[in-house]
Symmetry: C2
């Protein structure tokens, strides 16, 4: 099953079955990268500006790596893609590759929740996912770079997953424009939130993510290598961060959806 | 179970139980990253120098990203660590972080199999791991950057896994120096290879890696998302590339092991 969605193909990009496959696939990606990250201690210092001194920069070590990674990836046009959102927009450079032709899929919008995603990740997700016995091991700096490298992978996957809410929202809007136009015109955010919420689906996601964290986090052959990641921490990541922030993305996207259209 | 080995601690780094735990943990890492890669088509073009035109460079797109990634990571001292080996040594910069104190664990050596690892990866591993039906999809360039980004992760994990053979070799040497000194002095590579080979362990690895590829490659909740990676291709990666190249690393490391010692 090929889950990679092609965003240069408009009909693919707004097909709810394709979007669902992509979101399910991203559950694996997020779980894999988080399992990689939590093999290292929390290493709190790498998130503190100045915690590791970086010449010519007052960023934290993790922010430094994330920013430089975005700069590099912007050159190969990562941020041309409508499902990618930078954490450091000011670091982006002009792509060195020829631009791709993306059809107009999403309406113009400025929704970018990366600041909140990063904050939640550092303050809530990591402390709960890195077991306590690793928190204070940190006299050694040996895994600072490895930890930050994994963080970049996790954060980019989280950002992609959460901002995919824009495609979900656009697809739902097109299914029933009358209903959404009315809610949007009356600025009824609560009504929009209710219209896009499906509690049954959300519960299914949480059940599934628990199974994934347990399965992917356990060596299938060696009992002593179980629970590489705390499954409850991954469930809580979905319950308290990914699902609610995705809905914020959907609502905020829809609030901007009528600008410049027949419905404005 | 915390599998991250601390290479600033000499007793940890040469303890065979720790090395084994690290190698087993790297099986997960390699499998995860490979699963991420094969969600995209083969995209052969990204491995061909000039296939994607890069201004001011005659590298392939994948090599360009790998080289720039190494440049960035060298700044946060990735290549100071004795288990890391660059694919592009000429791209490395001076670390911007204070150096760590690594004890002398390995003897000085110039063993670096990255050229062979990359060649095998591009010519054998990828074509067998990316299902045929994706090979020719490639009119769209949409996933070129994503594919190459995954490649960098896989290649770095493969390189780390294979060059960990140096720690295995050093540990085995210290267990029985007399035996190895004699084999090394008579340049008996075949004898060294036999002394470091344990067929029973190798078979166990292959069994385990098949289970991992099947387990991590299948969504535990949704039957339609099975076989994200071809388990036989992962087994063959271990059987034909990782295990034999690790042994080459061990043998070549040992061949240099007596230089400057009492046994020379």
């Amino acid at each position: 099953m090929d889950a990679a969605i092609d965003l240069t193909d408009r009909s693919q990009a707004l097909d709810l079955a394709n979007i669902r496959a992509q979101l399910i696939r991203l559950e694996d990606t997020i779980t894999f990268h988080l399992i990689e990250r939590v093999q290292f201690p929390l290493n709190q210092t790498i998130y503190v500006p100045g915690g590791v001194r970086i010449p010519g920069s007052d960023l934290s070590l993790m922010d430094y790596l994330l920013r430089e990674q975005e700069r590099l990836q912007s050159r190969v046009r990562r941020y041309d893609s409508p499902d990618e959102h930078p954490f450091f927009p000011d670091a982006l450079e002009e792509p060195i590759l020829e631009p791709l032709e993306y059809p107009e899929i999403l309406y113009a919008n400025n929704v970018n929740l990366n600041h909140t995603i990063k904050q939640r990740y550092i303050e809530e997700i990591l402390p709960s996912a890195c077991p306590n016995d690793r928190v204070d091991r940190g006299a050694s700096q040996e895994n600072y770079g490895s930890s930050a490298t994994c963080d970049v992978n996790v954060l980019q996957a989280l950002s992609r997953r959460i901002h995919f809410g824009k495609f979900v929202a656009e697809s739902k809007f097109q299914e029933n424009p009358e209903k959404f136009v009315q809610l949007i015109k009356t600025k009824d955010k609560k009504g929009i939130d209710e219209a896009i919420t499906n509690m049954k689906v959300e519960l299914k996601i949480l059940e599934r993510i628990k199974m994934k964290a347990e399965t992917y986090g356990s060596d299938p052959a060696l009992a002593e290598y179980r629970n590489k990641v705390d499954a409850d921490a991954v469930v809580s990541l979905y319950k308290n961060t990914i699902i609610p922030l995705t809905k914020v993305v959907e609502v905020e996207y829809l609030m901007q959806r009528l600008k410049g259209t027949q419905w404005e």
